[in-house]
Subunit: 117 residues, 2 copies
DNA sequence: TAAGGTACTTACCAAAAAGTATGGAAGAAA
DNA sequence: TTTCTTCCATACTTTTTGGTAAGTACCTTA
């Protein structure tokens, strides 16, 4: 368990790889959005507003757009009036689960009294 | 593979958990520092400066201090003149590997032509 | 006495991210 | 014609983060 993946990384290239992921995930509201969409759920813009009351419309759409651009979220437009737009995860977005799980497990290690020094 | 860990998470609590991890990892230089310290290496302040030429002293010490405060990095002071201070990872810091690995794997999925839609 | 190496501080400025407030399009229903 | 719903867009302000430059403390060696 001394290695990272199968590829050979330098400290810099590995850091770059992880940073790409962080850039996708970081942003005040992205994780909450993602966790609301996991499990194949499709939510409308207004559903997300209700689910995350603290977010402003500007922030919500901004984070959704970035997630979409990064290929994590997909946008389904129904041409109706009033408008109906649904948001869901792409397959790649769904496949984030193991990584997030690993982070939660790491965070959990802390409380479990494992010596940190 | 539909669940997150063994615990029951709400979208909000899971997002909070992951965000705690992101807050530790995010910061312009933290990942590079971490990847330089992986494998039990002990590096002096000046070693890190040389290893990461683009970082300023202010930034380097700032990121190190934050990592230390978060329990990821440990600081070993040798009382000498000129000063000698070494930095290394804590056990918990080392145990970050699987999580970072999962992120690299996720990033790699993208190129592998797996349909994103 | 002066110069130098190591590990920092501090003051100051710029850029990026987040938040607030308001406005608008597109029709359908009253 | 006015109103209503939904999904945004835009201008502006505040907060956070990152960066630059300079200085400091300590003791050693020449």
């Amino acid at each position: 368990m001394e290695e990272m993946s199968e590829k050979s990384w330098t400290p810099t290239s590995a850091a770059d790889g992880v940073e790409q992921v962080l850039r996708i995930l970081e942003g005040r509201w992205k994780l909450v959005i993602l966790f609301h969409l996991f499990g194949g759920k499709l939510l409308r813009f207004s559903d997300l507003e209700r689910a995350i009351p603290a977010v402003s419309q500007k922030m919500l759409i901004q984070q959704l757009r970035q997630l979409e651009k990064d290929g994590v979220v997909r946008r389904i437009v129904h041409h109706q009036v009033p408008p109906k737009v649904e948001y869901g995860l792409t397959d790649w977005g769904q496949s984030l689960c193991p990584a997030l799980d690993a982070m939660l497990k790491w965070a959990a290690l802390r409380e479990n009294g494992d010596e940190v020094n």
